[in-house]
């Protein structure tokens, strides 16, 4: 039989406790190497769309906050276009779409200042509800965990979302819906294990 020539993906390893050194060096007091930490700022004065903040903490299975996690988010602009190379059209040039934060050393909390994303189509043309993709790494996490945050004020779109509707355990869907804590302010805590364990995706 002929051989398939596919390569195997490089195996993942944990980001470890010192992920800050490589990814957010200024945050961990390694100054003067890079001018700023990548992903620190996603918006500027000209960015279109509704300004929002997304605050959260990652918790382990005992309910203890992770103080060494790094969280990245990736989202569409206000029109639902992805910055960089969306095949459909050019996204807002004043929006990066990508953010990166380390949890606070004392509390584990992180805050993203961004805009509310527009809806993005699923492959069959149906619209996905507005969402933000999250990717979480930390010491003790052997392979990055991916999830999505949805908006509590988009109940109609969420009810039709192609991903949310295919989840068998509908009583877990609430783990993906952020909590509105104020005008344009959302909280999205991530629970790695145990009661209220966040839904993670293999996507």
């Amino acid at each position: 039989m002929q051989e398939l020539k596919h390569l195997k993906e490089t195996p993942s390893q944990t980001a470890g406790p010192y992920v800050h050194i490589g990814c957010v060096p200024n945050f961990c007091d390694i100054e003067g190497v890079y001018p700023n930490d990548l992903g620190d700022s996603m918006v500027n004065d000209k960015t279109k769309g509704e300004r929002i903040t997304v605050t959260g903490t990652v918790y382990d299975g005992t309910g203890t906050p992770l103080k060494d996690a790094m969280v990245e988010i990736w989202q569409a602009d206000a029109e639902g276009l992805y910055p960089g190379k969306d095949p459909r059209d050019q996204a807002d040039p004043n929006f990066t779409g990508w953010g990166r934060k380390a949890g606070d050393y004392d509390t584990g909390e992180w805050v993203f200042e961004t805009i509310k994303p527009g809806a993005v189509p699923f492959k069959d043309g149906r619209m996905m509800a507005p969402h933000i993709t999250f990717w979480v790494v930390a010491r003790g996490i052997n392979i990055g965990l991916q999830t999505r945050m949805f908006f509590p004020d988009e109940a109609g779109a969420n009810a039709q979302d192609p991903l949310l509707t295919r989840i068998e355990h509908q009583n877990r869907v609430s783990t993906l819906i952020a909590e509105k804590t104020g005008d344009g302010a959302y909280r999205f805590d991530i629970r790695l294990q145990g009661e209220g364990e966040t839904i993670f995706f293999d996507v």
Partner: protein, 245 residues
């Protein structure tokens, strides 16, 4: 229509090849591992697209860890090495213009980090971070010193093999990967609970960089080669539509 529009969903990740979430010999994984099954979904535009970084964001010394934190006229202490390789996907196709970030301990095995307590001293001329963007053929290269092995609190006498941490983006967010590179011939590799989280010896070997005497700089630096493979893509985004319709 751009090239990207022809790039489709990613191949399903081989979860039996990667370390599982729950690996008790690596103790921290015990309470940080999800217990419910991951929800499997074919990649959507949210994973097919990904952030883009430009070469012009890089500083001149970003890929030179011997010099990028050093005082004027000084250099980091340690065995001088070059680490180079190619980033490609599972189809063997190079991944150009992608960001590669690295971090490591100094030659004595000490990290520059406030939560690090190992008694080995800091090197005042070594920061520990570097980055580069792959060229058109997927190649990257940086210069550093060989990191030392270090003890860590897991068992009472666990030591990490010498390693360099790598963070890679790829062309879509679904390819995002963090891993670690090890060095050929290090006996600690096979005793490490973090390495041991990887199920097969064959997969571990993918993380071990060989010494490459053909790429050393004589009388200056040795070289290690570390190729990186990211998830491959299916052919087209518009799979539901017949070609030409």
């Amino acid at each position: 229509m751009t090239n990207q529009s022809k790039e489709g969903a990613f191949y399903q990740r081989d979860r039996g090849w990667h370390p599982p979430a729950y690996t008790p010999p690596y103790k921290t994984s015990v309470t940080r591992s999800p217990t419910k099954a991951l929800i499997s979904v074919d990649s959507t535009l949210s994973e097919i697209a990904g952030p883009v970084f430009n070469q012009n964001m890089l500083g001149e010394l970003d890929n030179d860890m011997i010099m990028n934190f050093a005082q004027p006229g000084e250099m980091a202490i340690g065995q001088r090495i070059i680490v180079y390789g190619k980033v490609m996907d599972e189809n063997g196709k190079p991944v150009p213009n992608t960001l590669v970030e690295v971090w490591q301990a100094n030659a004595g095995g000490r990290y520059r980090h406030k939560k690090e307590g190992y008694l080995a001293p800091l090197d005042p001329n070594f920061g520990g971070c570097g980055r580069c963007i792959t060229d058109e053929d997927g190649n990257y290269r940086f210069r550093t010193i060989k990191p030392g092995a270090y003890p860590w609190p897991n068992g009472v006498n666990d030591w990490r093999p010498a390693h360099i941490h790598f963070s890679i983006f790829g062309s879509g967010f679904g390819q995002r990967l963090i891993t670690q590179m090890y060095f050929e011939g290090d006996p600690l590799i096979w005793k490490c609970p973090i390495v041991g989280a990887i199920p097969s010896k064959e997969a571990v070997e993918c993380l071990i960089a060989p010494l490459d005497m053909n790429n050393t700089i004589p009388m200056d630096s040795r070289a290690y080669k570390f190729d990186i493979v990211l998830r491959g893509r299916r052919q087209t985004l518009f799979e539901n539509r017949m070609e030409g319709l």
